[in-house]
Symmetry: C2
Subunit: 261 residues, 2 copies
């Protein structure tokens, strides 16, 4: 009951500040409460909570970054936290990959999505008329950016890629990018350091009308039917990591800028 | 190439501080770099990255919270952010639930895990000999806490629960708790406000030896075979939300204190 009271106080009392120690030991104290004196929730979206809900797939089919979070997402993407979050995903994937025994028959593969997984569109999204996804998606403008072929690598991705190659993995890129961009994407991947791969799967006419989840499931199933073993699967969207034949382990790269279902 | 240089600078240059503006427009600037002058990564685990990797299932089968993150996790759990993260999950689930058309035949269910999903063990985990999961799990001690039946509700959970009942959902609690605790858990649930449910499924002798993922998949499959439609599924562990018959939508409640596979 004491703790029920704690939760109550923690949410209702509006007079506590950072000096209000609940526990002296371990320096645990009550931070600024988010609830008003009458128990009503304070106005305003907590952008940290919004980002966590996006990364855990609790929020789905959202269209744009909430305008009130544009500044927060911009700082997150350009500051150290996004880079460090990406590096830790690479660390976890490398630790997992090094613990595996590969067959050596060339059928052990790691699937990488491209956008926000191996190539970063952050230079595009940072523009003042894109606002890190807080303004509606513009297909024409984004395709012009892709056609430029100037995307840098996502932090940590090249380190994982090189480690996987050295361990004997074959790399498969599986992207929602359309076939018409094959040449420029190939050049972009090579320019930043992705120098070799088993397959580069892009979206063709036969995939038209499929959701991203259905398209990726279909192509992964084709790989499995061809005898490949999907040991790892890296993507920034949950539609990369759910569905059929998702692989033995999936790795979610942060991306709070857009949602693809 | 300009952006490759940006990533390079952002990771290597060690002289930049919060006044170092990359973009004047939109107040986007480079935060404190995480890499030393020679390109080596700075020592120390970034606890925010660690928590994100846990919540997105990138880190699996971990035993304890890293000791260097104990203080951070304690502040997170007891401060406003955990509560607010939980409230936003409830908001998202309520928004989804209100958009559904229920059949009215009493077969539309929402599955809730118990620990860290509907009942909070934070009073236990905050103890100085538990340290928010930074010390190894002690089965005897934890069972004593469960037997006390004093767990408060997880923030946001009662609000979601009441909304679901008012919409016509039947509630199913599906927990890894053992059958021997049925009476005390029932009393605990009722004491904090969970006053009614369709089923309270606990782990029996027939479930011995199953992983959490296998046990929960098996029990959900039984529900589906009995004609229930799982429209929502809330849990703090990915083993609640992956496997067979996971439901139409899953909702991941934050829990950086322990891992159950």
């Amino acid at each position: 009951m004491r703790w029920a009271v704690f939760f109550f106080l923690a949410t209702v009392v509006a007079t506590c500040n950072a000096d209000c120690h609940i526990f002296q030991e371990g320096q645990i104290y009550l931070l600024r409460p988010r609830f008003g004196a009458a128990g009503h929730r304070l106005e305003g979206l907590d952008c940290l909570s919004w980002r966590l809900a996006v990364e855990t797939n609790n929020l789905q089919s959202w269209g744009t970054v909430p305008m009130s979070c544009e500044n927060y997402i911009g700082h997150y993407m350009l500051g150290k936290q996004y880079r460090h979050d990406c590096e830790l995903v690479a660390d976890a994937a490398i630790k997992y990959a090094k613990g595996l025994n590969l067959s050596g028959d060339g059928k052990d593969i790691w699937i990488f999505d491209i956008d926000e997984t191996t190539l970063s569109n952050m230079p595009y999204y940072a523009q003042s008329d894109v606002l890190f996804g807080a303004l509606p998606y513009n297909d024409t403008k984004f395709n012009e950016w892709v056609a430029d072929g100037k995307a840098p690598a996502v932090p940590g991705a090249l380190r994982l890629y090189e480690t996987l190659l050295s361990l004997g993995f074959k790399i498969v890129f599986l992207s929602g990018t359309k076939e018409q961009f094959r040449e420029v994407r190939t050049a972009n991947l090579k320019a930043v350091g992705y120098h070799t791969w088993e397959k580069l799967i892009l979206k063709g006419d036969a995939d038209k009308g499929l959701t991203a989840l259905a398209y990726k499931s279909k192509r992964r199933t084709e790989l499995v039917n061809a005898g490949y073993r999907i040991l790892g699967n890296s993507g920034d969207q949950w539609s990369d990591l759910l569905g059929d034949n998702i692989g033995n382990r999936t790795f979610k790269i942060p991306d709070p800028m857009y949602y693809i279902g």
